[in-house]
């Protein structure tokens, strides 16, 4: 049991616990905060995987911007807790749990049956790992090979912004 593996299992337990907390808390604010914890733990996983820049983007964009938007809308609507539990589709919950357990079991069985994948390159284990996913390398690939998709994402964000403004516009006013 190397220190890395111990760290991995500890963090994995925290990530799964946070996801379960998000699923089962009654209050939507608590769910959002559990999800922030989950995103922070995944950012640490990105660091372990040699992606420091992605990890920082994860913290600022996901745990920062997107979750603040969620919390803002929850508090704006005052919709922390649903008023009445629903009676529609009562068989859905047990079926979901059974199928979810089956799916995870199938994936884990496949992973244990699969032939041993070659280990991650050892050269990446030390110094190169830190440079591999750094801002310099990521930027060079993003602005050369993926320049067109990068520009298209700006169009996507523009359309999303216009869509959001149009959707929440008050139609009674001119």
């Amino acid at each position: 049991m190397t220190p890395e593996l111990i760290l991995f299992f500890l963090l994995a337990a925290v990530a799964i616990g946070a996801a379960l907390g998000m699923l089962f808390s009654r209050n939507a604010i608590h769910s959002a905060l559990y999800l922030v914890l989950n995103f922070a733990v995944v950012a640490v996983f990105f660091l372990l995987l040699g992606a420091p820049f992605i990890a920082m983007v994860q913290v600022t964009v996901y745990a920062g911007a997107i979750m603040v938007l969620f919390l803002f809308v929850i508090m704006l609507l005052g919709a922390e807790i649903l008023r009445q539990p629903s009676k529609v589709l009562p068989w859905q919950r047990p079926l979901t749990l059974v199928l979810g357990v089956l799916f995870v079991g199938a994936v884990l069985a496949l992973l244990s049956l699969a032939p041993r994948a070659p280990e991650a390159p050892v050269a990446l284990a030390d110094d190169a790992l830190r440079k591999f996913g750094g801002p310099l390398n990521v930027g060079q690939v993003l602005f050369s090979r993926y320049l067109l998709p990068f520009e298209l994402t700006s169009l996507l964000l523009l359309v999303a912004m216009i869509g959001a403004v149009v959707l929440v516009r008050d139609e009674k006013k001119p």
């Binding site: 990105f46 649903l82 993003l142 996507l156």
Partner: protein, 102 residues
């Protein structure tokens, strides 16, 4: 230093993804359903980065950027939709949003 095997990350990602699917199917609060979708996208990102390390190929990390962009756009439009629905129906319970007429 022994790197953590990629298959461990795939297994963790599968568990997180299933928890996200469970959230979409079990919960009735539209905002929590959205958060579960974010959880699923995030578990896909984890696999992308894990395989980027496995194959020493930065494209996996670049795709995480694009997934994040799509997630941000989706959240902006989705939350605007939820606000618009809440204005007319005073509820974000997805079981009460069951009629197509306005």
């Amino acid at each position: 230093m022994n790197p953590i095997p990629t298959s461990y990350f795939v297994a963790l990602s599968a568990i997180l993804f299933t928890l996200g699917v469970t959230g979409v199917l079990v919960r009735r609060n539209a905002i929590i359903i959205f958060m579960s979708v974010e959880l699923m996208l995030n578990s896909a990102n984890l696999v992308f980065v894990a395989f980027a390390r496995q194959f020493v190929e930065l494209s996996g990390q670049i795709f995480v950027f694009f997934v994040m962009t799509v997630a941000a756009a989706e959240v902006a439009v989705g939350l605007a939709l939820i606000v618009a629905i809440f204005r007319t129906k005073q509820s974000i319970n997805v079981d009460e949003i069951n009629q197509l007429k306005g």
